[in-house]
């Protein structure tokens, strides 16, 4: 299923919420986090180093992006640096890492998987704000229930700021879209920004 939405630019930040819930990206094989982000997704090394300071792989805080391997079915979450003692504790390779050793990612040898690898990627806070528009305009695979709930929760805003909806190559009204049950499906969402 594919959905293309043409929206006013000030509506785009609303969509960051679903990027935080996660979206699926596909790569050709298992690889390190750094390889996935910089080579596969084209994120600049310097951006990764300076801005993405909190990283979780399957809920565990990652310190070394070169040795942590992303496999089929992994969940990878990216965030800027966090406030507070615990925020500093979770920072990768930070001074306080000892305080969360029970939830630190342990770089066990990964089972390499060639062929399609699906990764659930979550973007939070400043990272969602900075990388989100590009991902949304390129298109992201979303959990249908998350997307349906998002449209339902933001119906009034979308009705006002969304000028065109194309669902599986056919134009559709927003209220009609909500009547389609795609909650058990994966939907490819792409945003087009109004000039």
């Amino acid at each position: 299923m594919q959905l293309t939405m043409t929206v006013e630019s000030d509506l785009i930040p609303r969509f960051y919420q679903i990027l935080g819930q996660g979206f699926v990206i596909k790569t050709q094989m298992s690889c390190s986090i750094k390889n996935l982000l910089c080579v596969e997704l084209g994120i600049h090394d310097k951006y990764l180093e300076q801005r993405i300071q909190t990283v979780f792989l399957n809920g565990k805080a990652v310190d070394d992006l070169d040795s942590a391997i992303v496999e089929d079915g992994s969940t990878l979450a990216l965030s800027g640096p966090m406030p507070g003692l615990v925020g500093a504790t979770l920072r990768r390779d930070g001074f306080f890492a000892a305080m969360r050793s029970q939830i630190s990612y342990d770089s066990n040898p990964a089972v390499h998987h060639d062929g399609d690898v699906k990764v659930n990627l979550k973007l939070f806070n400043l990272v969602a704000k900075e990388l989100g528009p590009d991902f949304l305009q390129r298109g992201v695979w979303l959990n249908g229930k998350h997307l349906h709930d998002f449209i339902s929760d933001n119906f009034d805003n979308l009705k006002q700021g969304c000028t065109s909806l194309i669902f599986d190559n056919e134009p559709i009204e927003l209220n009609m879209l909500l009547k389609i049950d795609f909650s058990n499906k994966i939907v490819f969402l792409r945003l087009t920004k109004l000039p």
Partner: protein, 580 residues
């Protein structure tokens, strides 16, 4: 700041005002001032609501000057919640105003013989104290409106709501913000109950006709302040993340880490946390109030501006931007994922004068006991309203999670020394569990903050990812935090001074240029250790032993999903934290 205002509320013939010189307390500010006075002058075994306890309110060392971020105010006493020494601090305007008026501390002593309620008025001409029983059982918002009507809009207020008057152990003290709203609270440990026991409803401060405190070396001060501000602005946490999203930016991340206490500490992740995240909150606030509504300072001179304004669905002011701890306590911990409900609870807490962490933890315990269903926002609102009404149930809930759990027969009660844990599960982040267990304050996330232990020279050589590092880190963090609390600087400066050595140096230069001293990092460390030792000594004399430095047993037994971990730090290791 060269004087201490002492008011004996129990003096014959009514409250007696005395202005003291600083004496032995010269050079102290903030937590160093409050804890030193309490440790020296309060009998440790006294009843916290008795005439022997004292309530000490102290601005920071730089409060009243033009130094950025210098507006924290410290409150100290023997705690009705923990039975030990208590320091709680807050932002807002009163710290700056008291500094400008020259007061290094206000000490409320004794206890009124009659059942009267007092209003204290302080300005450049002196101090006036009057009985005003018309203030009885007013909420903080109505009370401040009444003070505005009487004294104008250029005042600041320090006040208690109904909870403080009822002397409930979860009662806070409110400090007004820049808009003269009672949104900043010294929340923890029941300090509001001690103010209530002194019969003081409100302290009104008017600094008209005063000037900012002048530095000893104006040129160096100006230069250091400029460098300090630049350091805060260029750091991604203090210059970007906190202004954009506030402290609630933590919600998504802590839940992702599996350390977000959910459903009264049963789970480590909250499935619908996105709905109450800082990102969603900022979006909602800006949509309702216009761009920039989610970025606001709590006092003049704040550069970070981690607060904001929360408007209701109709665009009317409801409360300030709700902070992470409150969003968690009333939200994820109670399985409530509606920001409007959480904002209403925050408003009620501020109005009744309640610690939001304690109340959220208490409501979750009550939910586990079956008084309401987890996730039922309206039921949570109704329970908090019971506290404001002063019903029997409300008085029970307002006494905190430990008492409520005991009365309702709940085993899973997340407290240390009687004080509810904040928004991080100690099984997920075990280092903070060490601090919860061993802090002089009871379970407290700010007791060991992310201060530059390495820069301060108290970090030593800590091996990362080794469990034993948690003990040493917790010890060093507690010392460093006590030092920063004593300066009166907002703790959020910690991130910039941790990462940027030049910003830490700018802070030292700022303090030195203001005071004319030559403090080094070692001196700051020594101050922190001195404060902590005084607090530990008070608690020992109050009857605390190492057995009080423990987490509840269930944290060692119940595995926390999703990582299925228990708290693994041994009692022997915990006993090493204060071995210095």
């Amino acid at each position: 700041m060269d004087k201490i205002l002492r008011i004996n509320m129990g003096a014959d013939g009514g409250p007696k005002i005395k202005i003291d010189s600083l004496g032995d307390y010269a050079g102290l500010g903030g937590r160093a001032m409050t804890s030193t006075i309490v440790a020296k002058e309060v009998p440790p075994t006294c009843h916290p609501l008795s005439e022997d306890n004292k309530l000490v309110i102290a601005p920071g060392m730089l409060s009243g000057s033009t130094a950025a971020m210098s507006g924290r105010i410290s409150v100290g006493c023997k705690s009705p919640l923990t039975g030990g020494i208590k320091e709680a601090n807050a932002g807002g305007q009163p710290s700056q105003m008291l500094g400008r008026l020259g007061y290094a501390a206000i000490v409320l002593e004794g206890k009124p013989k009659e059942n009267n309620l007092y209003k204290i008025f302080i300005n450049k001409d002196g101090v006036d104290i009057k009985v005003d029983n018309s203030l009885c059982m007013l909420g903080n918002y109505d009370l401040v409106d009444k003070m505005k009507a009487e004294h104008g809009e250029k005042i600041a207020c320090i006040s208690i709501g109904q909870a403080g008057e009822m002397k409930l152990a979860g009662a806070s003290i409110a400090f007004t913000d820049m808009e003269l709203r009672p949104t900043r609270h010294a929340g923890r440990g029941g300090v509001g109950a001690v103010m209530g026991s002194k019969g003081v409803k409100v302290i009104v401060i008017d600094d008209a006709g005063t000037k900012a405190r002048g530095p000893a070396n104006p040129d160096n001060f100006k230069e250091a302040n400029k460098a300090f501000v630049a350091g805060l602005r260029k750091h991604s946490v203090t210059g970007e993340g906190l202004p954009a999203y506030g402290t609630n930016v933590l919600t998504n991340v802590i839940s992702e880490a599996g350390a977000y206490p959910t459903k009264n500490f049963m789970w480590g992740s909250f499935e619908t946390c996105q709905k109450i995240s800082g990102e969603a909150q900022a979006e909602l606030e800006n949509a309702r109030g216009g761009e920039g509504t989610a970025t606001h300072g709590c006092h003049r001179g704040c550069i970070i501006r981690c607060s904001g304004t929360f408007l209701d669905k109709d665009g009317n002011y409801l409360t300030k931007q709700v902070e992470y701890e409150t969003v968690w306590a009333h939200g994820g911990n109670c399985c409530i994922d509606d920001l409007d409900v959480i904002a209403q609870l925050d408003r009620l807490d501020d109005d009744f004068g309640l610690d939001t962490i304690e109340m959220g933890a208490t409501i979750a315990v009550a939910m586990e006991a079956g008084l309401a269903k987890f996730g039922d926002g309206q039921a949570a609102i109704n329970l908090v309203k019971e506290v404001g009404k002063g019903s029997h149930l409300g008085r029970l809930l307002g006494s905190g999670a430990a008492i409520t759990g005991k009365v309702l027969g709940v085993e899973r009660v997340p407290v240390v020394k009687g004080q509810a844990m904040p928004a991080y599960d100690p099984r997920g982040v075990q280092g903070i569990g060490v601090t919860y267990a061993t802090s002089t304050q009871g379970a407290d996330h700010t007791a060991g903050y992310a201060v530059a232990t390495n820069i301060l020279g108290v970090g030593g050589s800590v091996a990362p990812l080794k469990p034993e590092g948690q003990i040493e880190l917790s010890r060093n963090l507690q010392i460093a935090t006590a030092a920063i609390d004593s300066t009166g600087m907002c703790l959020f400066i910690a991130f910039a001074i941790m990462d940027q050595e030049d910003t830490f140096q700018a802070l030292l230069d700022l303090i030195n240029a203001f005071s004319g001293q030559s403090l080094t990092g070692d001196d700051v460390n020594a101050l922190g250790m001195q404060v902590l030792k005084a607090e530990r000594d008070f608690n020992t004399r109050a009857g605390f032993t190492k057995q009080d430095d423990r987490l509840p047993d269930y944290f060692k037994k119940e595995k926390l999903p999703p990582h299925d971990i228990t708290f693994l730090v041994t009692d022997e290791d915990l006993d090493q934290v204060h071995n210095y």
